[in-house]
């Protein structure tokens, strides 16, 4: 009964984080599932009530956690469940991505989309597109390099650790 397929092996599989609003994109992603549309399994969704709730520091933290690409998605303008949240998000991210670009972060790693609750197909397509694009860009080595330096756990690894029971 195993109907599953093996996906094509790539040299590099990017980590993608999607910050999505509950009412449009999360529901749209559910619809993609209900419709059995297939997309790349690299994405991890973090559900928030609204794009208005998605602050820039979530994105930074995602990179710190090892993301190679970040996707932010919510309701189309005028469709926001909370009426205005996405307008605020749009304005904020217009400038924020310019800031990232300015400090040399390839902004193709940060993508924004409007995906409504009815756009399951758009979601499936989007995730696959973003995954492919980031896969093309390769690992976010620029960031990973400084991130590893700031958390020099690996170089400590060979040292024996003392076990503590709680």
């Amino acid at each position: 009964m195993s109907q599953h397929k093996e996906t094509i092996k790539h040299d590099f599989e990017p980590n993608i984080v999607a910050f999505v609003c509950n009412w449009c994109t999360y529901t749209g992603a559910d619809l993609a599932g209900t419709s059995r549309l297939k997309y790349e399994p690299n994405v991890r969704i973090i559900r928030l009530p609204c794009t208005g709730r998605i602050d820039y520091n979530l994105l930074l933290k995602a990179f710190e956690s090892g993301a190679d690409g970040v996707l932010v998605s919510g309701c189309h303008p005028n469709d926001c469940h909370y009426n205005l949240g996405n307008f605020h998000a749009r304005r904020r991210f217009t400038v924020f991505r310019q800031l990232l670009d300015f400090v040399g972060i390839d902004i193709r790693r940060i993508q924004f989309a409007w995906v409504s609750a009815a756009e399951g197909a758009k979601w499936a397509q989007l995730v696959t597109q973003v995954t492919n694009e980031v896969r093309e860009l390769g690992p976010f080595t620029n960031y990973k390099r400084i991130s590893e330096l700031s958390f020099p756990y690996k170089e400590l690894e060979p040292e024996p650790l003392e076990e503590v029971t709680a």
Binding site: L31, G66, H81
Partner: protein
């Protein structure tokens, strides 16, 4: 220390097919603070829920992660189950490993890995959940019904009969909707008006229903139980409190050649008009665009002859504010227009003459030709010369199921009404012959298939399976060229009249209304229900319900059924004096708030205000933001504009989201 239980659901084969649930359970067991994990065939079933409840007690769980379907599907189910133990329902989170994992991925290894990741995220989140208290909000026991078609009327009557107040709004001058235009209805062939008009009258006279026709919804604010709605009562230039509906104004109006909307352009009306004789309310309206007085400043014939002085040329739009607890949207549908100026911007059907030949009409027009109250008083006469057509060709799926030129969906009711048309035609023109070009016949429904069989077998309609490639005029006849795919031959029919069963489409002006209501819509602009199967009447905006064809093409019995269902939902809502709302609201940390006011400006609900912090002597220390928990809807926009992170949002706190991100890739 947190003690988390993880419950992995196979959902039969739905998850188990692509996600190895036992591996997910085993890997979850290794996670820090997870003290119990298990997988089971159907976690949402009774035994599944009992497993969860038992484990909470037995293992002293402080949090629960259900790895199964979308939280939008079963979060309530599981939270209710958790609540039955001592644990707060808000200490239950769901990892969506079905809609967002097993159903969308094919590689079992990767899907299983992703499922484990999703569980870990939720474990980290639930550890930081707190037992919240639901917020109680009062309910305004009054409903708004938008749309006065059969769905709206039925919903309004059912709510009103349930002893709750209803405000009903209809944008056109009369209620009745499309059903009032129909001749007879399938599969019983009873007269549409005969069954509808009594309901229209009851709706207008019911003590619990306040009817506003020629009125539209201007704005909607608020939330379930507490909507503030502003209605725009458009100026009809007739004082409805004085007018007796005598109709003298219509007679005296010099403009008589205006094409009648009710008769789908096949009849005429004056500039001041009552849309149809059985209109409710029986009050005329002046068509300002076409009224001689409004155009030239002279005439006022209607005013002169009105013995009650009901004509008011200086009337203006009136705004009415109402408070309601629930809203039923029953705005209905529109027929797909194949003409050149197609509203949907789709090219239409050039090969059908773009509907320009007067003898190529749509089904609704044919309804009017069949109707005893129609422009021909029920005699089937073709529009061009009034001749009784001896050969009528019906085309189905015009616009429907046509990705290239129209809509991809099935309009659902055309098969049935076309069969009805052939029958009614045959009953009126005994020597006439009906041909039907169809793709498939969809006659699912009580007595429906029998009905279609009757059209073919008893009333002799000839059904041809295939598309029509071209219609063109040759003298008196319309030549219909098409394929009969069953016989494999090309067919050419010389017809007197061609009837197109054009698609059912969403109302062209539905999107702005949907946006005012915060109700989602699909790519065809049909309004979205909260769940296609289990919440077909609800929308994602709590307190707003759907009825009728605004959601998808529907026939009358379906629309009525959904309307009654919506009414039941409204009555259920009104049966409580208070509602419980999920306490996902924002709160301010006053000690760190600098009172910059960004959140006040940004809040979509004006739920945030300034609050003065004073010392014991009453001296102002500082101003901070203050969130009115009753107004806050929990969008979290304020968090993002707060630079010092002095606001947090219950259910989606900074710590919860941070922990989720922190545990993403390990």
């Amino acid at each position: 220390m947190a003690r988390i239980g993880v419950f992995v659901c196979h959902c039969g084969e739905n998850i188990g097919r692509t996600v190895d649930c036992s591996v997910v359970a085993k890997e979850s067991a290794k996670l820090r603070d997870v003290v119990y994990s298990v997988d089971y065939k159907y976690m949402c079933s009774d035994p599944g829920q009992i497993m969860v409840k038992d484990a909470i007690k037995k293992h002293n769980l402080t949090g629960v992660v259900i790895a199964s379907c979308s939280p939008l599907m079963h979060e309530k189910t599981f939270r209710r189950a958790v609540q039955e133990t001592e644990l707060s329902p808000f200490l239950c989170e769901m990892a969506n490993i079905r809609e967002q994992c097993s159903w969308v991925h094919e590689d079992k290894v990767l899907a299983t890995k992703k499922a484990v990741d999703l569980v870990r995220l939720m474990v980290e989140k639930v550890k930081r959940n707190t037992p919240l208290e639901p917020i109680r909000i009062p309910v305004t026991k009054r409903a708004l019904v938008i749309g006065g078609g059969i769905a709206g009327i039925q919903a309004a009557l059912d709510i009103a009969d349930g002893n709750q107040e209803v405000v009903m709004v209809e944008k056109s001058p009369s209620i009745g909707g499309h059903m009032a235009q129909l001749s007879e209805t399938f599969p019983t062939l009873d007269c549409s008006q005969c069954i509808l008009t009594p309901k229209m009258v009851s709706a207008n006279s019911h003590k619990n229903i306040k009817l506003y026709t020629y009125t539209e919804v201007e704005s909607v604010t608020g939330y379930i139980g507490n909507f503030d709605v502003t209605l725009r009562k458009k100026a009809r230039y007739v004082d409805d409190s004085i007018c007796s509906g005598c109709g003298i104004c219509q007679e005296k109006c010099p403009q008589k050649k205006i094409s009648s909307e009710f008769n789908t352009g096949l009849g005429k009306r004056p500039a001041i008009y009552i849309p149809f004789p059985q209109a409710v309310p029986n009050i005329p309206v002046i068509d300002k665009e076409r009224c001689t007085y409004f155009k030239n400043g002279k005439c006022k014939a209607c005013e002169k002859f009105c013995d009650r002085n009901a004509i008011k040329f200086d009337q203006t739009d009136e705004f009415i504010n109402i408070k309601v607890g629930a809203i039923v949207v029953a705005t209905g549908y529109e027929m797909y227009n194949i003409g050149k100026n197609n509203k949907n911007g789709i090219k239409g059907y050039g090969e059908y003459g773009c509907g320009e030949d007067p003898d190529i009409i749509d089904s609704l027009q044919f309804e009017r030709l069949l109707s005893a109250s129609g422009p021909t008083f029920g005699e089937v006469k073709r529009p061009s010369d009034g001749k009784v057509p001896e050969t009528v060709v019906f085309l189905q799926c015009v616009g429907s199921r046509d990705k290239a030129k129209g809509m991809e969906y099935c309009s659902k009711i055309c098969c049935m009404y076309t069969a009805k048309h052939t029958m009614l035609y045959k009953h009126k023109v005994h020597h006439g012959q009906a041909f039907v070009f169809y793709l498939d016949i969809r006659a699912g429904g009580k007595n429906y298939d029998e009905f279609v069989r009757r059209a073919i077998e008893e009333d002799g309609a000839i059904y041809l399976r295939g598309r029509v490639s071209k219609i063109y005029r040759e003298g008196d006849k319309l030549i219909v060229k098409g394929a009969d795919t069953l016989s494999g031959s090309q067919v050419e029919i010389a017809a007197d009249l061609v009837v197109l069963a054009t698609a059912i489409t969403a109302q062209p002006d539905i999107v702005p209304l949907a946006q005012k209501l915060g109700v989602g819509y699909d790519k065809y602009h049909f309004l979205s229900e909260a769940h296609p199967k289990l919440k077909p009447v609800e929308t994602n905006s709590a307190g707003i319900f759907l009825a009728g064809a605004c959601q998808a093409p529907k026939d009358i019995p379906e629309s009525v059924a959904q309307a009654s269902a919506a009414a039941a939902k409204v009555l259920g809502l009104c049966s409580a004096t208070e509602l419980e709302r999920e306490p996902y609201v924002a709160k301010v940390y006053e000690s760190t708030c600098a009172g910059c006011g960004f959140c006040i400006e940004a809040c979509p609900y004006k739920a945030i205000d300034n609050k003065a912090i004073v010392n014991r002597q009453g001296k102002l220390i500082k101003n901070v933001a203050y969130i009115n928990q009753g107004l806050c809807q929990g969008c979290g926009t304020c968090l993002s504009v707060c630079r010092s992170k002095s606001i947090d949002l219950a259910g989606f706190t900074d710590e919860q989201i941070f922990s989720e991100i922190n545990s993403l890739f390990v």
